[in-house]
């Protein structure tokens, strides 16, 4: 049975739609259109001389081996952060879902890091792992690890992954907790009566029932890694060493703001925009499928 509001004419529904549409135009289509237009221009930093170059900025981008390296870095970074933050979030949610004393305090404490600004989170981790001052760096060194995120790309990557993951665990925890609360206790009890042990109950009942939440979080996490980790990367590594932690969004900033190459930077934003539109499309498709459950 379809539910549909009935309007007498076409004027009223369109008028009601107008404010929303105006907001979308002003805050999305207009800037997005400007980015596309800018990506076809080549100009100096001050915008005194401007030349229309069509798709040349994209051609330069496609011929730049660094850009592919950035894509690879972004892929490695996103997969690591998404996997780690999802699994830690799930583990903590399952633990917190049990009948324990002070569960509310626990939960509140676990949600806390989400309120920390990315740059602040970055600086926290930077201090802990600063080669000559950081507590954890000193510990690593005493174990004989030559910890040096300034020169070792893997170390720098570990550092930004840790900071980005730590920041995102709370969010995932919150959604998994809500997902767990929605699973009927009777199903789990029935399985327990049938003799299924906790691990088996988790993998055969709880986890499949959580999968819509998990998939939603996966998409959200990837979007998070693509855009919101900018502050962490900027404060921890500045994209270095040797570009080993330069993700796509960080390169947009580097080339556009620091390098005054607005055309090239806009072209990169457009590429990023396409990727995110694709991701969002996947998410919508998933939401539609979920309705049929």
């Amino acid at each position: 049975m379809e539910r549909r509001a009935l309007f007498g004419g076409k004027l009223l529904p369109y008028t009601l739609l107008l404010p929303q549409f105006a907001i979308v135009v002003v805050f999305f289509y207009f800037p997005a259109g400007q980015a596309v237009w800018q990506s076809m221009l080549m100009e100096d930093a001050f915008g005194i001389s401007t030349e229309f170059v069509g798709f040349e900025n994209y051609q330069i981008l496609a011929a730049d081996p660094d850009y592919y390296k950035t894509m690879l870095t972004t892929a490695v970074f996103s997969i690591l952060v998404a996997f780690l933050s999802l699994s830690c979030g799930l583990l903590l949610a399952v633990m917190a879902d049990k009948q324990i004393k002070g569960a509310t305090i626990y939960k509140t404490m676990l949600i806390w890091p989400y309120a920390v600004a990315p740059a602040v989170a970055g600086v926290l981790w930077l201090f802990m792992f600063q080669p000559s001052l950081g507590m954890l760096a000193k510990m690593l060194r005493s174990w004989g690890v030559d910890w040096n995120p300034l020169l070792n790309g893997n170390h720098a990557m570990i550092l930004v992954v840790l900071a980005a993951t730590w920041k995102q665990i709370s969010y995932n925890f919150l959604f998994f907790l809500a997902g767990l609360a929605a699973i009927p206790k009777s199903v789990i009890e029935a399985a327990a009566i049938d003799g299924a042990r906790p691990m088996r109950r988790f993998w055969t009942i709880i986890f499949p029932l959580l999968s819509p939440t998990a998939f939603f979080l996966l998409v959200i996490n990837i979007v998070y890694v693509f855009f919101d980790t900018f502050g962490i990367i900027d404060s921890v590594t500045g994209g270095g060493p040797a570009g080993n932690t330069t993700t796509m969004v960080y390169k947009v900033y580097q080339d556009g703001k620091a390098g005054s190459n607005l055309g090239g930077s806009a072209a990169q934003s457009v590429v990023l925009m396409i990727i995110v539109i694709a991701l969002t499309a996947i998410q919508f498709k998933f939401v539609e499928r979920k309705v049929q459950y």
């Binding site: 080549m42 100009e43 100096d44 930093a45 001050f46 915008g47 005194i48 001389s49 030349e51 000559s132 001052l133 300034l150 020169l151 070792n152 790309g153 500045g238 994209g239 270095g240 060493p241 040797a242 570009g243 580097q254 080339d255 703001k257 620091a258 390098g259 005054s260 190459n261």
Partner: protein, 445 residues
């Protein structure tokens, strides 16, 4: 209801306060001069004091100094403001941004023109040659007003030198001597570090080339034209980076990062030798809990003509275009105020930045200030070591902010052992040239 009444009362109060304020300040004919800068801490105080003194010295103009973040942030803020049509009158731009500003002829007004139109005396010859050369076109026209300048020196820990059995009053002069001293220091006094450098490209490429009288790029390091190409893969450059990479393996050389964040390892005592800006002076003086000193940058003795002279770091003041002639008169009056010899001398002795005019330098020298503060004169001696050549007058490359990042990436690859020094420097040249061509294309139309 009561909320609504409160709001209207607050609004009425605000309106009243606003009226009172307007009445309190007499409608004056003062012209405001906006000055955007990037100086923090003690130097921020210096800037504010200069503005206050100027404002107190006359009634016609009012200089408003605003801090806009780091050097790069300030420059970007100025560019963005220009694009939006509300640029400040005076913008402080660091030396790396000089080429970008110079090429933006429609966005800036040459300082020589500003002074001439206002009938103020402006003679580029009063400046130290290294300073005037850095901010002048190839035809000798000075485009910006030199403000705060520094240069590279080698800071060293005298206590660590004593512990290692080295003479603290005879610091190493050449790179091979530095390497030997660093090995001894690491073996005896400072187990985690022999020596380090901050601002890795400024010290190891830009100042290094100038000090050895070898070109960074063609066309007199870009000063004579934007169609310049880099020359930093010369045998001397490659040898230097090969040495650094070799010494980085056992931490005799410790990479200090792209900016000055690594400087803390000197003041904490971890690294006994640190090559960085002379502007590090205030920090060392305040935080180093050991006997310290500084010395000129080291050189390779087998390079003919080395050491040549060093070049500048720091920033200059640019006058932005499109303002009224009255406003330009105010800018000129402020610059004339800043140029006063006594004021320049005081700025130097108080801030630790270099004196930029010959008269101020002579005056401070004659006062015997350097006998008590010899470490403030080291960078000046380096700057004036010899008459500047084509290779040591300065450097002017477009996109240099971005190119420095490219170079840093390649240096990091060399030091991590992923590329040989030759491969890394070849790539630094090729990638840097690509960026230069992009810049040339956007400015030469």
């Amino acid at each position: 209801m009561s909320i609504g009444r409160n709001i209207s009362r607050i609004a009425a109060g605000a309106l009243f306060a606003g009226t009172a304020l307007t009445l309190a300040v007499p409608a004056s004919a003062q012209t405001e001069i906006q000055w955007w800068h990037a100086l923090t801490g003690a130097n921020n105080d210096v800037v504010n004091r200069l503005a206050a003194e100027f404002n107190a010295s006359q009634t016609q103009y009012k200089v408003v100094a605003s801090y806009k973040g780091s050097y790069a942030d300030t420059m970007n803020a100025g560019i963005a403001a220009f694009r939006a049509g509300n640029a400040p009158h005076i913008l402080q731009v660091f030396e790396v941004g000089t080429a970008t500003m110079m090429s933006a002829r429609g966005a800036i007004k040459p300082v020589a023109d500003v002074m001439e139109e206002a009938g103020k005396l402006f003679d580029p010859n009063v400046y130290l040659p290294a300073v005037a050369g850095y901010y002048s076109t190839s035809k000798g026209e000075m485009l910006s007003f030199p403000f705060n300048s520094s240069s590279t020196v080698m800071w060293y820990n005298k206590d660590a030198f004593r512990k290692a059995g080295l003479n603290p009053d005879a610091p190493p002069k050449t790179w091979p001597e530095v390497f030997e001293a660093a090995k001894k220091l690491k073996a005896t006094a400072t187990p985690n570090c022999g020596f380090s450098t901050a601002w890795v490209t400024w010290v190891n490429i830009e100042q290094f080339s100038v000090w050895h009288n070898i070109p960074i790029g063609t066309k007199a390091n870009g000063i004579d034209g934007f169609d310049t190409v880099f020359r930093i893969n010369s045998p001397t450059h490659v040898k230097h980076f090969a040495n650094l990479a070799e010494l980085a393996k056992d931490k005799t050389y410790v990479y200090g990062g792209r900016t000055n964040t690594g400087e803390g390892t000197f003041t904490s005592g971890e690294c006994p030798i640190m090559l960085t800006s002379s502007g590090f002076y205030g920090n060392v003086k305040a935080n180093a809990k050991f006997d310290w000193g500084n010395a000129p940058m080291p050189y390779y003795p087998d390079v003919p003509g080395a050491p040549q002279n060093s070049t500048l770091g720091g920033a200059s003041l640019w006058v932005m275009g499109g303002k009224s002639s009255n406003e330009y008169k105010g800018v000129a009056a402020f610059f004339a105020f800043l140029s006063d010899t006594d004021r320049q001398a005081r700025l130097h002795t108080e801030s630790g930045y270099l004196p930029i005019t010959k008269a101020a330098y002579e005056k401070v020298k004659a006062s015997g200030f350097y006998n008590a503060n010899p470490y403030l004169e080291t960078p000046l001696k380096s700057l004036n070591n010899k008459a500047p050549t084509e290779n040591s007058r300065g450097l002017r490359f477009g996109n240099l902010v971005q190119i420095r990042d490219i170079w840093s990436e390649e240096i990091e690859e060399i030091l991590a052992g992923k590329k040989t020094a030759q491969q890394g420097m070849d790539a630094a040249v090729a990638r840097g040239n690509a960026s230069l061509r992009q810049f040339e294309r956007t400015v030469s139309r």
